[in-house]
């Protein structure tokens, strides 16, 4: 094996924070001393090439894996820091790669930091442990009894499931990816930036407890990004939950498997054997601390760059070993990966407009290689503070629901636990959002979308700068490249995104190629494509803005400035948009207060005892914010109108999407609406599911999927609420 590359980035020796008064002679647990020794050794290895990273290192003293506020029933565990918090600095890991040999990097001596109690084992050993486990054996016996089949046959089936599912992590494949990804990343991206302090915290966390990595999911690039990162920093490589569709790709699927991916079927609710095997497979790896477990809370790539509402299945699986106290604690690590330019941006836009997503295939991947000549800017990866599950659960889960049943029996989680899992999921997504880097272009896109078809360049710059300030007030995490002046920043954004917008005669316009000539339909389609692509970037702001912005929208909706009425409208909007944006469950009032607080902070509103009203100075802000969310307000109304007017009979989602798309399309063609975003299937689905949650649409499970039934009256009532024709009826919180 080649000697370690001197220049590859390594974590500097961890600084242990000593509590004041704790003398140097007070050794804590010996394990820690050992870990320290190891880290110190590793630190020395990285010393030679470390000079230029001195700056980052100086700020690393605070790298301990403490956890944020604890949770209690009643008091929600989510409370956002309202003062702008200090965030870590970034280091570009590609810089190193551009200077030294990728081959040597791929062949470097890799001796990762691993979980303290881990005795390393082969992937196959895990599989056989899973097969032998009481959990799986129990289900096998149950099924054998019920179906009257021999347990051997079912055991065979379980083996097949495992073989389909299991990863076969191999250092060879990892090195292959280390090499090829280096090449590809260097080609595609200008920089891949990581907060090294986050990596440092992760290093501690991995040694201490089992770790679950929870990255955001915007692109296929996310997939191996963390593995690449962890390899670079000499940390244990994660095993990654991947959709089974990847197995459809020849060679690539197997390569991913060898890089640590394991594959789960998209739906297996009814298949008890599959569920048992899958859950046990994940838990076995977690319990033994075999490797960090990585999966995407959002379940799939967000086509809109807006965080999707979380899926709970896999999260509840990884939390279970803690609930059953099979592990002392588990760290959940929110990771935010943001792209200056998303690789799949145009694919997504097509998909949202109903052009089907190409099936994952190797040939497709090879065809996509032309994008290699394109520039996709910078990736920012922010590894958040590891969150201790134990801390989250303390005071929350008091009774011990698992004490009275043997732990290997499959048991449906209690309502308490389900609620807790959901809270944790939302908390993690909110943490992802909080640390998601926003590029200047995101601001440009948000401004531009409000000023179509064309906007004066100078005005755009001015507005962008203004929005920058507002975003920072709201806690957004903006990375402004190297003190670039606003003009240059906007220009560089325009250059990078020339496929979306361009500069024509001092004006910035959307780049809707082919929209000038052709049929009306073609024009609408082209324009919609450009709008949706542009919206993808604006969308990155939405979850940061949603609380104050919905207050702003509510202010315009409410018949008066009375607090109760504004809050009622806010509450209504929050309910309607509960699938569209990420809200921590059940804290509407707190969200409202946060929104008001932020608006007050930027002088947009004033509040008195009973009233909330916009200030003269802040009318611009309020109208900007409501305009920012207007596509959603209008889009939802349009979709609701379709449902209340057109859908008399039961329908399926497959019927609904094309129907509503046509409906919106016609309106766009007629010019009776400008809401191109209502064409987005994402918005359409969210709107439908909002109605289901509001009880205006009934969702029924049928043998061939779900069918929906519209309660016309209820939907038109909701529509009236939008227009504030009837007051939004909501019990008003007493504390208001």
């Amino acid at each position: 094996m080649a000697p370690p590359t001197a220049r590859c980035p390594r974590l500097p020796p961890p600084r242990r924070t000593r509590q004041p008064g704790r003398g140097g002679a007070g050794p804590w647990a010996p394990r820690e001393a050992a870990a320290g020794g190891r880290a110190a050794r590793r630190g020395r290895a990285g010393e030679r090439g470390a000079g230029r990273r001195g700056g980052a290192r100086r700020t690393m003293a605070t790298a301990t894996a403490a956890t944020p506020g604890r949770a209690r029933r009643g008091a929600p565990m989510y409370s956002k820091e309202l003062t702008s918090k200090k965030r870590d600095e970034f280091e570009d890991i590609l810089e190193e790669r551009r200077l030294s040999s990728d081959l040597r990097y791929a062949m470097k001596c890799y001796t990762p930091v691993i979980y303290k109690g881990l005795s390393p084992c082969k992937p196959n050993a895990i599989k056989s442990a899973v097969l032998r486990s009481e959990q799986v054996q129990y289900v096998i016996k149950q099924l054998a009894k019920e179906m009257g089949e021999s347990p051997d046959i079912i055991q065979e089936e379980a083996t097949e499931i495992l073989d389909e599912m299991g990863h076969r992590m191999q250092l060879g494949a990892v090195r292959f990816f280390a090499f090829t990804l280096s090449k590809i990343f260097k080609q595609l991206f200008q920089r891949v930036c990581v907060n090294e302090e986050g990596m440092q915290r992760l290093q501690h966390a991995i040694q201490e407890h089992p770790v679950v990595l929870l990255p955001s999911h915007r692109s296929y690039v996310d997939f191996l990004m963390l593995s690449y990162l962890l390899y670079t920093y000499d940390l244990a490589l994660p095993v990654i939950a991947a959709g089974i569709d990847f197995l459809g790709m020849k060679i690539v699927g197997e390569l991913l498997r060898r890089a640590g991916a394991f594959f789960m079927r998209r739906s297996f609710g009814g298949n008890r054997l599959y569920w048992a095997v899958f859950a046990e497979y994940v838990k076995t790896m977690l319990r033994s601390g075999y490797a960090p477990i990585e999966f995407f809370l959002e379940g799939t790539r967000s086509r809109t760059a807006k965080t999707l509402t979380p899926k709970f299945g896999l999260l509840s699986i990884v939390m279970e070993p803690f609930f059953k106290r099979e592990v002392f604690d588990t760290y959940l690590v929110p990771i935010s990966i943001s792209y200056e330019r998303i690789l799949e941006e145009s694919l997504y836009a097509y998909e949202l407009l109903g052009v089907p997503k190409p099936k994952e295939s190797t040939s497709g991947l090879l065809k996509a290689r032309r994008i290699l000549s394109d520039n996709f800017g910078t990736i920012h990866i922010y590894v958040g503070q590891p969150v201790s599950l134990r801390t989250l659960a303390s005071g929350r889960i008091n009774r011990c629901p698992y004490n009275l049943v043997p732990r290997h029996l499959p048991q449906k989680p209690s309502e308490d636990i389900q609620e807790f899992v959901s809270d944790v999921a939302y908390k993690m997504e909110l943490l992802q959002i909080e640390n998601m880097v926003l590029s200047p272009w995101v601001l440009v896109a948000a401004v531009l979308l409000q000023n179509l078809p064309a906007m004066e360049f100078e005005l755009l710059i001015e507005k962008t700068l203004w929005l920058k300030g507002l975003t920072q007030t709201f806690g957004g995490f903006i990375e402004w490249p190297d003190n670039l002046c606003a003009k240059k920043a906007v220009l560089s954004g325009l250059t990078l995104h020339s496929n979306i917008a361009r500069l024509v005669d001092g004006h910035v316009v959307l780049n809707d190629k082919g929209a000038e000539d052709g049929a009306v339909g073609e024009i609408v389609f082209r324009h919609a494509l450009a709008v949706l692509m542009c919206a993808t970037y604006r969308n990155q702001l939405l979850n940061v803005f949603v609380r104050p912005a919905l207050v702003a929208v509510a202010l315009q909706m409410a018949p008066s400035f009375r607090k109760e009425e504004v809050y009622s409208c806010f509450n209504f909007l929050r309910d309607v948009f509960s699938d569209e944006f990420i809200f921590f469950p059940g804290i509407s009032l707190k969200d409202f207060e946060e929104g008001c607080f932020l608006l007050t902070k930027c002088d947009a509103i004033q509040t008195s005892q009973q009233e909330i009203y916009p200030t003269d100075k802040g009318s611009g802000t309020v109208s900007f914010l409501s305009a920012m969310f207007r596509p959603f307000v209008e889009g939802y109304q349009l979709i609701f109108r379709y449902l209340s007017k057109e859908m008399k009979e039961a329908f399926t989602e497959k019927q609904f999407i094309p129907g509503v798309r046509n409906f919106v399309f016609q309106h766009l063609e007629k010019g009776s609406t400008q809401c191109y975003e209502a064409l987005s299937s994402d918005m359409q689905k969210n709107a439908l599911s909002a109605l289901v949650q509001l009880g205006a649409v009934k969702k029924k499970k049928m043998p061939n999927g779900f069918t929906y039934n519209v309660n016309q009256e209820a939907v038109s009532k909701i529509l009236d609420m939008f227009d504030a024709r009837i007051p939004v009826q909501k019990p008003v919180a007493a504390r208001l």
Binding site: G26, P27, A29, F328, P406, R407
Partner: protein, 627 residues
């Protein structure tokens, strides 16, 4: 044949006892020490139980037995009562320094004696005193007597003794000498509206003896120590009827004179009483042969404010509704005063043998114990200590007399660590005690060692086993030493199903370490456990926990927070609130969750019937804290 060399049973038992605890406490030497306000002394015919004069007033056990650091700075155990007495422990100092970061230079000192002026005054109404005098039952209002009975042996209680004073203590101590005396006292208490707290050996570790600060009535400490006779022995049925105040070691000693034993040996048996065992559902070290107290008891007589509760026959089992014994056992003095107990006895075993097995790690050790339990072949005692406790035990190894022994020790160590590849920082040890007739013991021994071998265990000699058991008897003395050097500690126990033993041990130990760190304890604590009893369905786990509190302003508060966290961890891991220590006031907050609202209500309604005006102190668990 070996048979020729076999000593007689009684003789052998004596040897065993000396071997085991080596108490050479002599009755004749202890003159009566009870201080009485009344002129009457207890009946002269009575032999006194261990007197408080012999015992430390502010710590555990006998005055003459304690750990000290001698002039050379080496640890030494004083007195002649224990086998360890007079021996030098060369490695102990280093262990203490290494484990706790303690230093001999930093010493705290307890007050030398009780300051009588600090003691809350005794408030007893004169009418009651007159009635009491009429009964001729001896009593005392002396401060020392009252303070002695105001506490058990929880850490916070000892700490208060050393550095402060209890806010509330009994107002008067009474010494009934028989069942009838107790009846009279309880009647008087009802008549005069007093509050009784029964007192046996005073070894409680659940704050059960703590006097509620807000108790306005006169508190009577009912000391059962003078009810210490064996009333009769029934050799045909192998039972003995004994007064409840008898102390464990006296009971065994007196039974041994007739060639019998009960075999009930809780770690506190030198000081704890039969009535106390019944009241707390005690468990003995050798329960695998003799059973726990609930298996041993045949009949109980208890005096309650409502009257006397007992059965009409002394039978091995009966189906007559819920067993009233089970209301009494574990009632912790809240329902009445146990006065007489008929208990099973066994012939003194002919042969006793210690043993020990080294396992490469704790997991294998637990697996072995589980297998032993499964095959139901557990010896009289089998315990598995974790690595930290193994090292702890090792530190208590006395100075080796000859070069040959030290050479042998070195060889053993070499064999286990180098040849067998056991990591001395991971390995753990099971200690064994076999009892019975010689052939069977040897046969049994083989069976157990065979199982151990399957789990990677290596026989490690009798000596290690014996030292393991010795540790249990001196550990309480060690706490007093620790207190002198800023180290506070405590033990606590639980029972847990087999499949959760490992998780529970690991998590609780880790929780303790973490809580210490969070609470600002400056050195990693000693956090160690042993699996101390095996059952068909689970095990009893015993934890020791101690830390150096230098730099902490309120160590007891910190200690209590950590202990509470540890208990919560136990419960979350599927362990019980207590295996044999009881609930007392210390753990009552969890009582409701432990036995459900209805369960607690059932107990409460019994209490209400038996003791409607709460003549017996009840702050124990009927008023479990509601969350």
């Amino acid at each position: 044949m070996f048979l020729l060399k076999r000593p007689r049973k009684a003789q052998l038992y004596k040897i065993i006892m000396e071997f085991n605890y080596a108490f050479s406490y002599s009755r004749s030497s202890c003159a009566t020490s009870l201080k009485h306000n009344s002129t009457e002394l207890p009946p002269a015919s009575r032999e006194e139980a261990p007197q408080q004069e012999l015992l430390k007033w502010n710590g555990w056990g006998y005055n003459d037995s304690k750990f000290i650091f001698n002039k050379k700075g080496q640890a030494e155990f004083t007195g002649k009562r224990y086998r360890l007495g007079g021996m030098v422990l060369p490695t102990f100092k280093e262990w203490i320094e290494k484990t706790f970061g303690a230093s001999l230079e930093h010493k705290t000192t307890s007050r030398a004696s009780l300051n009588v002026n600090d003691v809350p005054p005794s408030i007893v109404n004169e009418e009651f005193l007159q009635d009491l005098r009429a009964t001729k039952i001896s009593y005392s209002q002396d401060a020392e007597d009252r303070v002695f009975r105001a506490h058990g042996h929880c850490l916070h209680e000892i700490f208060v003794l050393r550095e402060g004073m209890f806010k509330r203590i009994p107002d008067i101590v009474v010494w009934p000498v028989c069942h009838e005396d107790v009846v009279k006292i309880v009647e008087l208490a009802c008549k005069h509206n007093l509050c009784i707290i029964p007192f046996g050996g005073g070894t409680s570790v659940s704050s059960a003896l703590e006097c509620p600060e807000d108790e306005k009535r006169t508190i009577v400490s009912l000391d059962t120590s003078q009810m210490n006779r064996i009333l009769w022995i029934d050799e045909k049925n192998l039972t003995a009827c004994v007064e409840a105040g008898i102390v464990g070691q006296d009971l065994e000693k007196q039974l041994a004179e007739s060639g019998f034993c009960t075999g009930h040996e809780p770690d506190s048996m030198e000081f704890s009483s039969l009535g106390g065992w019944v009241a707390t559902r005690a468990s003995g070290m050798k329960k695998n042969i003799y059973g726990n107290i609930e298996d041993l008891v045949v009949h109980i007589k208890m005096v309650t404010p409502r009257g006397i509760v007992e059965k009409n026959c002394q039978v091995p089992r009966m189906s007559t509704g819920p067993d009233i014994h089970h209301f009494i056992m574990g009632s912790e003095g809240t329902l009445g005063v146990v006065t007489e107990v008929t208990i099973k006895i066994r012939p003194v075993p002919e042969y006793q043998k210690y043993g020990s097995v080294v396992f490469p790690n704790f997991e294998r050790g637990v697996a072995c114990l589980r297998e032993v339990a499964k095959q139901r072949c557990a010896p009289a005692s089998i315990r598995l200590v974790d690595n930290a406790q193994f090292q702890f035990g090792h530190a208590l190894k006395p100075q080796v007399a000859s070069i040959f022994t030290s050479f042998l020790d070195g060889l053993k160590k070499f064999y286990i660590t180098k040849f067998k590849g056991f990591d001395p920082n991971i390995l753990c040890v099971a200690t064994l005690l076999f009892e019975g007739d010689r052939e069977k013991v040897l046969q049994h021994e083989k069976q157990v060692y065979d199982i151990a071998t399957k789990f990677g265990g290596l026989a490690a000699g009798e000596d290690n086993g014996q030292r393991g058991y010795m540790l249990t008897f001196v550990i309480a003395y060690l706490r007093d030493l620790g207190l002198d050097y800023y180290v506070i500690g405590e033990s606590f126990e639980t029972s847990v199903p087999w499949d959760r033993v490992l998780d529970l041990c690991r998590n609780v130990k880790e929780r303790i370490v973490r809580e210490c760190k969070e609470k600002g304890v400056q050195f990693a604590p000693l956090s160690t456990c042993r699996v101390t009893q095996t059952y068909d369905a689970g095990a009893c786990v015993y934890f020791y926990f101690a830390f150096n509190y230098r730099g902490i302003s309120d160590p007891i508060h910190v200690y209590e927070q950590i202990e509470r966290a540890a208990r919560e961890e136990i419960l979350a891991n599927g362990g019980s609130l207590s295996h044999h220590h009881g609930v007392g006031k210390l753990r009552k907050r969890w009582m409701k969750d432990s036995i459900s609202d209805v369960g607690l209500g059932m107990l409460r309604s019994v209490k209400e019937y038996v003791d409607p005006i709460t003549s017996l102190e009840t702050k124990i668990f009927y008023k479990a804290l509601h969350k």
